[in-house]
Subunit: 331 residues, 2 copies
């Protein structure tokens, strides 16, 4: 097995990406292929190159602001294009990137195609709560969907929760603006009716309750999912900053504030996107893992470990089987 | 001028509601009418009843779980129905309730009707950020809208920001899943095109940036707005609870943790919904202010003060004028 890592993707690439790769390497049972500018990558690696690490050259870089479809047409030798193609050609099993999310997602989609029976891919993000977190999807891949696609998201989310989060019989809830059946907008009412036929569907969940009640998988469209993700990030940062501003600058007074650092430590861990590191784009024939643009070495390392777990536990095959079973049940 | 307060609405009614009313009373330049069970209200008030306070009896209470339209048909003598009717009949100028939101909103809508030119009312909620907060609408009134309605929300939000938040030339941003024009789903793209004609429109804003950048008004549909509101609440509670759990239970160890309490104090204030207390339902011919179901006395007090500001600064008239001007510009 091997994982391709986009060495040029992200705000702190290639340094942070390569540092993360080197941290992950001792824990990987797969080959790791770094794709990008060979010279720049080589300069950041020890000599000789550690076992299990390979470099594949790509002469171009997709910038964060570039339009995904334009780069697909024009930058045929970008690290994203070369990396995704390695997987397509069977030379690797998964692609991981902290670069332009739209470009990584659309290149994977166009080159690998959707799994049979999947009409819309979804990004699956893990969010924290008091019970070990939950998977939210779609967190940003497919903004305009039909209510029917929510069933696909639910099946993909269940496969992720089983294979990556280790939940044996995960249940699915629909993000809605009220708990009872019949609440919501036209879309969520239609999605509810479709999900209600499934034994693992546990009804609606409100935005607040995702964080305070046990839940495995929360499904919604990508617009709502992305807003949840960004709101979570924004509030968490506002809170941490407000706390930080309350600590005196004077070093002597500051030293009395050690308990603050102590109580905030678990919070930082809980809210740190780098703890999971990446969010898989689900519904394609191979595995693409999207990392935060701001990824540090820790995020890259954890994204690689999550990707390894997903590969070893056959996440894509599990989704394929779930979709086939579901289609069989409906036929 | 006078404000009607639903004495029976909310999880802690009538105690917390009446306590809040008594706290607000010295600061009110309006008459305050308490509507609800006369006997229960009377028992919670000092003797004699303070000047400026009146009681209007209502024999029924709308419970939190009841369906709004059913209560409208069946509970003709509920505190919500009687309160809203007092405003309709010109005996009061605004209605404030921490009771069943759907019932308060639909009763106001059905009895008072929308302002000419408004097709969908919106709940306008104030959220915290580093720059004195921003108004988010629609926070939950109209889940299924057309992109055209977003312009109405923007005009109403501007009136609120000017008249209640004291922003002289407030700008409006569209909540979206990307900053640049052309991002988003079909709905947000269409809404962008409509807003782009306005001089005060400042483009898209992402969920994260609302909390970290200066902004006055953020518009979105009620589904998205309500999810933002609830997500904010959920994350803030998760964080505060995680911090609280980090403080030792043992009283001696605990005493060393005083700095934690100190740094969290501004945070509590920042995240406390009770600081604003209520969210007006905008777009109707009169003012209805919705309070959180969990409202304590402080929330009720602050909601009453906000309502007074809105009345004294002619919020509803300002909206009426803005809508008329906008229609004139379009004609």
């Amino acid at each position: 097995m091997s994982i391709v890592l986009d060495a040029m993707g992200g705000d702190h690439a290639p340094q942070a990406v390569i540092e993360g790769a080197l941290q992950a390497l001792p824990l990987l049972r797969t080959t790791l292929i770094l794709v990008g500018n060979q010279e720049r990558i080589r300069a950041l690696l020890p000599d000789p190159i550690p076992a299990g690490l390979e470099i594949v050259h790509a002469s171009q870089v997709v910038e964060m602001h570039e339009k995904p479809l334009e780069t697909y047409k024009k930058k045929k030798d970008s690290s994203i294009m070369v990396g995704v193609k390695l997987v397509k050609d069977g030379q690797a099993d998964a692609f991981v990137s902290a670069g332009n999310t739209g470009a990584a997602a659309s290149t994977s989609l166009l080159m690998w195609r959707q799994l049979d029976g999947i009409h819309r891919p979804a990004i699956c993000s893990q969010l924290p709560n008091k019970y070990g977190g939950f998977a939210l999807l779609d967190a940003g891949a497919s903004p305009d969907i039909d209510p029917e696609n929510i069933l696909e998201f639910a099946l993909m989310g269940r496969a992720y929760a089983q294979r990556v989060m280790g939940r044996a019989e995960p249940s699915v809830q629909l993000l809605n603006i009220g708990e009872e059946e019949g609440k919501g907008n036209a879309f969520s009412k239609a999605a509810y009716a479709i999900l209600a036929k499934q034994p693992w569907f546990k009804g609606n969940i409100e935005g607040k309750d995702m964080f305070s009640k046990p839940c495995d998988i929360v499904v919604c469209d990508a617009f709502v999912g992305n807003v949840v993700l960004k709101t979570t990030e924004g509030i968490a940062e506002l809170i941490v900053e407000t706390i930080r501003e309350g600590v005196p600058k004077n070093p002597i007074h500051r030293s009395l504030y050690w308990p603050v650092r102590k109580v905030i430590a678990p919070l930082r861990k809980q809210m740190d996107y780098a703890e999971v590191g990446g969010s898989p784009l689900l519904g394609l024939n191979h595995l693409c893992v999207i990392c935060h643009g701001r990824s540090n070495a820790k995020a890259i390392k954890n994204a690689l470990l999550m990707t390894q777990t997903a590969l070893e536990n056959r996440l894509v095959d599990t989704i394929r089987e779930a979709i086939t079973d579901s289609a069989g049940t409906h036929a």
